[in-house]
């Protein structure tokens, strides 16, 4: 057993302090230490994008980051998007309206990839959307309805 490290970080606006093994992946830390199981794990080698979360506002893959690296940083997961399931974030609403999800396993990763993308580029073209989503794999939808959700979404402030 290796030495444990103390970490302090903010997740969805809540402060957490834990003592962890340095090899603990951020995805496992969020899911199993903090119980935030909305972040899903699809490949654990940084290829499928399901585990995408925001680190200081930037989309990153939590399966290829160690939780110790998030010490002092701010993480946002899918649980941080909507206040509750009755009041969805506009992007979540758009996914629902366009049928942009089927099994829903990849969906949190798509949402978290799109949040910073749309902040930077609120009215993207279809080609830009497809390019931005090329690092997220969905095995159910064929992407078309996801792309349509993004084309139709309007995120107010």
């Amino acid at each position: 057993m290796t030495e444990l490290y103390p970490v302090q970080l903010t997740v969805n606006g809540m402060a957490y302090a834990r003592t962890i093994e340095p090899r603990l992946l951020l995805s496992d830390f969020l899911r199993h230490e903090l119980g935030l199981t909305g972040t899903h794990v699809g490949c654990e080698h940084g290829s499928c994008g399901a585990c995408t979360v925001l680190m200081d506002g930037q989309a990153v893959r939590s399966c290829i980051l160690f939780a110790v690296q998030a010490d002092g940083h701010e993480i946002t997961t899918v649980e941080g998007l909507a206040a509750n399931s009755a009041r969805l974030h506009p992007l979540q609403e758009a996914f629902r309206a366009a049928h942009g999800l089927q099994c829903g396993y990849c969906t949190p990763g798509f949402l978290m990839t799109l949040i910073p993308f749309l902040e930077e580029n609120p009215t993207p073209s279809e080609a830009e959307i497809r390019d931005a989503l090329s690092g997220n794999i969905c095995r159910c939808t064929g992407y078309q309805n996801i792309v349509d959700a993004v084309l139709k979404v309007e995120i107010g402030d």
Binding site: M1, E21, R23, L24, R31, H32, G35, L36, T37, G38, T39, H40, V41, G42, C43, E44, H45, S47, C48, A50, T77, V78, E79, L81, A82, N84, S85, A86, L88, Q92, F95, R96, A97, H99, L101, Q102, C103, G104, Y105, C106, T107, L111, I129, R130, D131, L133, S134, G135, N136, I137, C138, R139, C140, T141, G142, Y143, Q144, N145, I146, V147
Partner: protein, 778 residues
């Protein structure tokens, strides 16, 4: 029937939970004192085991137990045969099933050999790394055509060759048809392996509670009820002591219905042994070996035709790769055999297959489940015949389609449900005509393509047809209950993996009971909620469970009307179910809310009349006499860069007929997703095994799933030919999108590279492979 919600693109009930990260998947289950499991898997494709050394692993920190086959005692048994052999004359069938942990031999890379239980998964993997397997390495059996030669090593030592099964089926007399033919087209065609790669890997949590003598299992299975029944038997428990929950599942596509995976057998046993909850979550690397795969076949096919393009008969002899064990019987190969004739009126058919054991992962159905191969063979032969006879390829198909007055149409041979293959209904010409119109076939060939070719572009068109046998039995059931709140609960036994059952089934119930789909809460995949059923496979969920739910909802409707008639003292015929209430037609102020009626049907005082049941609840079942046959046409236009062989799909059209449509939005989604998997299968995905049976691309870096930039926009339209086999008139749709994409790519790419004299007889393709094929054709 006042149809209001059936047929509407209702937004899905399950989405808010999924979108907010609040839906429970198997790996989200966390129990106090839970232990974690990792497997030590064979690094060899084929070897005799001398010893499994686990001492070092047992001594690792955090390790609670390490088990090998020897530790399992009498629990060590080969798995059951899931599907018995079909009732076909002179069949040879050698079933050999997987074992929980390899004992004498390992037969594929990734076969479980030992299992480590530790305080967390990290520690379990540390310990698994310390296990050492002492073996005599045996020659791998990789190539299908080599597998049956005398030189091949034996995968199962008790067989005298690697023969899993041999089946011949006949319709008419092909030999006679061949004699009458003007032309015979003969080709050898190959289809290679891929993997379903559901984004969620498999996983199991088993929790034995000794105090309650109760076993609860969360399992990423498509078939929770058969899993419960089987595990109860293996564990020596009553079925009532075992509860299997298939929670939200991150995609199934077939392999999640395999029974029984080695891990499924072991986790509950470990939990009982240690009296603690245990969890195993398959990782992506394991998934490439431990989850079943599909698609390896080699066909020698021929088609006999008249000179005006009428098919007289088809002969097809093929090898099917079963992998190391064959627990799923012959379903995949039978599907290939039974789907091959497709939409065409063929009087004479000879089909012979040999299923062979190889030292590769186990083969069981994956979306399409063998249908791809049949469609590939037939459509390719038609394309080649059309070229040879100089007949337009659409015209070639038109001349051979089964005419609408020939339904039900018998193909005589035995299908995967063991009933003779009979198409229940169909109307193929309008769908083909619609696809031709949508892709603008005539104009493309007459104007567009010559113009593009003159400009140096290589753009081609493909158009192919297919059928899909769907909605087979045996049966499903459902229980529908009106609760005191006026809300309706529905329980059914099938699992759900993203098909939208929470919504489409709610629509069926809502129409019968006069409520909204949001007021219908569906529970599926929990054996504590519904006892009977088979599972989600073979595009049968909507057809079989949907009709069972319809039947149960109708029964509740009858109860509601009867009770309300008594309460309101009005004839049943004068009542209607609207807005969550029963009311008198033309006099809506005389009404009773469903919830109030439910309370009155379940009173605290007074008496429930003899001969009636309390509450507003009913259970019913549906079992179709045979499967319903869906059909469709795919067309696409593709541009190929002849220097790099990179492709761009410019248009993709699907015209589909799956009978009555419950929710067109969900149906479109199924088609989009199927096409995406078909595109992967045709041009991106291939499992590459070397001569030692080692898989060379067991990662998402090297196994290429289609991405948002490789899947085009898909244009869809529908033709509706209701199925006479079920009251709702529906046919399954889950697999259709994936089935005909291989031959579509082949035809369109040949057309694009028209000057290369190319004949594509294999799937999957890739730019590198195309470059090779073009070089060979020169």
């Amino acid at each position: 029937m006042a149809t209001r919600y059936f047929g509407q693109p209702i937004k899905r009930n399950e989405d808010p939970r999924l979108l907010t990260g609040q839906a429970t998947f198997t790996d989200d289950v966390h129990l106090p004192e839970m232990l974690h499991v990792a497997f030590y898997r064979s690094p060899y494709a084929h070897a005799r085991i001398r010893a499994v050394h686990t001492e070092a692993a047992r001594a690792m920190p955090g390790v609670v137990a390490v088990y090998t086959a020897d530790d399992l005692g009498a629990y060590w048994q080969p798995g059951p045969l899931l599907v018995p052999p079909p009732p076909v004359k002179e069949i040879i069938f050698n079933p050999r099933m997987q074992v929980p942990l390899a004992r004498d031999k390992v037969r594929f890379v990734g076969e479980p050999v030992a299992v480590v239980v530790a305080e967390n998964r990290y520690l379990a993997e540390d310990a698994a790394e310390q296990i050492h397997l002492d073996v005599e390495v045996l020659p791998a059996v990789v190539d299908l055509e080599q597998a049956l030669t005398p030189a091949a090593a034996l995968v199962h030592d008790d067989l005298d060759q690697n023969l899993n099964a041999h089946v011949i089926q006949r319709k008419g007399d092909y030999t006679r048809a061949r004699q009458q033919a003007d032309i015979i087209i003969q080709r050898k065609l190959r289809y290679d392996r891929g993997t379903a790669a559901a984004l969620e890997n498999r996983g199991i949590v088993a929790h034995w509670e000794a105090r309650n003598q109760q076993m609860t299992i969360w399992d990423t299975t498509q078939a929770p009820i058969p899993i419960r029944n089987g595990l109860a038997g293996m564990l020596g428990l009553s079925e009532k002591q075992v509860r299997v929950i298939a929670p939200f599942i991150g995609g199934g596509f077939g392999p999640k219905i395999m029974m029984f995976y080695q891990e499924e057998v072991l986790l509950p046993w470990i939990s009982m042994r240690l009296n603690r909850p245990v969890k195993w979550i398959e990782d992506r690397q394991e998934n490439f070996y431990a989850t079943t795969q599909e698609r390896g076949q080699v066909h020698w096919a021929e088609m006999a035709l008249t000179r005006d393009g009428k098919i007289l008969g088809v002969k097809d002899v093929f090898l099917h790769d079963a992998g190391a064990y064959a627990p799923y019987g012959l379903t995949v190969a039978l599907n290939s055999q039974c789907t091959l004739l497709g939409q065409y009126d063929v009087a004479h058919y000879y089909s012979e297959f040999t299923s062979v054991f190889t030292t590769k992962p186990i083969v069981t159905p994956y979306r399409g489940a063998g249908r791809q191969h049949g469609v590939f063979v037939m459509e390719r032969l038609l394309d080649i015949a059309a070229k040879e006879l100089d007949i337009d390829r659409v015209e070639m198909r038109r001349r051979n389609l089964i005419p609408p007055d020939k339904f039900p149409y018998s193909n005589e041979i035995i299908y995967q449900d063991f009933a003779p293959l009979t198409y229940d209904s169909g109307n193929y010409l309008p769908a083909l005509a619609r696809a031709v119109e949508m892709i603008d076939y005539e104009r493309f060939l007459r104007e567009e393509q010559p113009r593009l070719r003159a400009a140096g572009k290589h753009v081609g068109l493909g158009i192919v047809t297919y059928v899909e046998g769907t909605g087979i039995g045996p049966y499903e059931g459902a229980k529908v209950t009106v609760e005191a709140s006026g809300r309706v609960s529905v329980a059914t036994g099938i699992g759900t993996q993203g098909q939208g059952h929470f919504t489409s089934f709610a629509q069926i119930v809502a129409d019968q009971l006069g409520v909204t789909p949001e007021q219908v809460r569906l529970v599926t995949g929990d054996t504590a909620e519904f006892y009977w059923g088979a599972g989600t496979f073979a595009s049968r969920g909507a057809v079989v469970a949907g009709n069972a739910i319809h039947a149960a909802a109708l029964a509740v409707r009858r109860k509601i009307l009867k009770k309300a008639s008594d309460e309101l003292e009005v004839d049943e015929e004068d009542l209607e179910l609207v807005d969550g209430a029963v009311r008198v037609k033309g006099s809506p102020q005389t009404a009773i809310k469903l919830g109030d009626l439910a309370v009155r049907a379940n009173p605290m005082r007074g008496a429930v009349k003899p001969g009636t049941e309390p509450g507003l609840e009913a259970t019913d079942y549906f079992g179709p006499e045979r499967g319903a046959t869906a059909s469709g046409v795919h067309a696409m236009i593709v541009e190929v860069d002849p220097e790099t062989m990179m492709i761009e799909i410019l248009r993709y059209v699907v015209v589909h007929d799956c009978g009555a449509v419950i929710n067109p939005m969900i149906l479109e989604g199924q088609i989009h997703g199927g096409v995406a998997q078909g595109i992967g299968n045709a041009f991106y995905e291939q499992l590459v095994f070397d001569e030692h049976g080692q898989l060379l691309n067991a990662s998402f870096m090297d196994y290429l799933l289609p991405t948002a930039d490789t899947v085009p926009r898909i244009e869809t339209d529908h033709v509706e030919t209701r199925s006479p086999l079920n009251p709702l008139g529906i046919k399954g749709a889950g697999e259709a999108g994936a089935i005909p994409v291989g031959p579509l790519f082949a035809q369109a790419i040949e057309d694009a590279l028209h000057d290369a004299n190319l004949e594509i007889l294999e799937i999957p393709l890739s730019p590198s492979r195309l470059y090779e094929l073009v070089a060979e054709a020169k």
